[in-house]
Symmetry: C2
Amino acid sequence: MDSTDAKILKLLQTNARRTIADIGKLINMTQPAVKERVRKLEEKGVISSYGASLSPSKLGKETTAFVLFQTNSCEKFIDFCESHPDVIDLHRISGQHNYLVKVVTESTRSLDEFTDACGQFGFSTSLIVLSTPFEHKPLLPNNVEV
Amino acid sequence: MDSTDAKILKLLQTNARRTIADIGKLINMTQPAVKERVRKLEEKGVISSYGASLSPSKLGKETTAFVLFQTNSCEKFIDFCESHPDVIDLHRISGQHNYLVKVVTESTRSLDEFTDACGQFGFSTSLIVLSTPFEHKPLLPNNVEV
DNA sequence: CCTGAAAATAGAACCGC
DNA sequence: GCGGTTCTATTTTCAGG
């Protein structure tokens, strides 16, 4: 993991659909060299996946919330979240609450339905997202210049 | 926004580096047709960006936390978070706390340094992530079969 | 790192609802 | 006119030397 890898990672995090050749031009490196580095970064698991970010509002999802949850039926709650289409992230956390759930849904009405449905597993507190100054900022390796 | 768009969006969210031609094969559509749909989805802002997800632990970042924050200096706090390399997401939220900050950092030690540095702006509560059953689940359009 | 074959892309011309 | 297909020139990928 050197500064070249860091540059490649930054470029891929910024725009995953960039071509290998394009990355090569930007960092003054030949295409096979870049390709080989990307292959190794994927193989080592440094790069875990490539994804597209969608605009929730353009999909008719006007409400985003973080739901803090307290439950004893962890297995069942995980399965419930896994299969619920509005649940985007699920984290187990320290503190009074066991879980932090990110929910992207149609409206406060549908959020209400979600928390109601959760009721069978435990207790929730919802934090409604009013705005998001930024999100998914690129992750940089420690101790490396970019 | 029809079921074909929904399929394309799902495939791109799952793997943004898939080729247009490959997507075409999977949904039985020619390459220019897929290309045109993707172009429109980008133009309309339904697709906001393409990114790579990295493994924090492979980058030497062993601690992830959500920090709830209460402040009066919103502008300054946003700038601080924006320029801090360990802050990945920043959301303004309802409730007693103003902000929810996702932090990915080296250790609990460096998390401690972060919250100390935040101290000048207000008060924080940290929720340490113990595990993440899943994250970045694909967003599906409302009322459309995939 | 270079090279050449194979694949993917971008664009034009055309067709049918 | 919109959304789809085919065809083609160009670019990108990828494997072998």
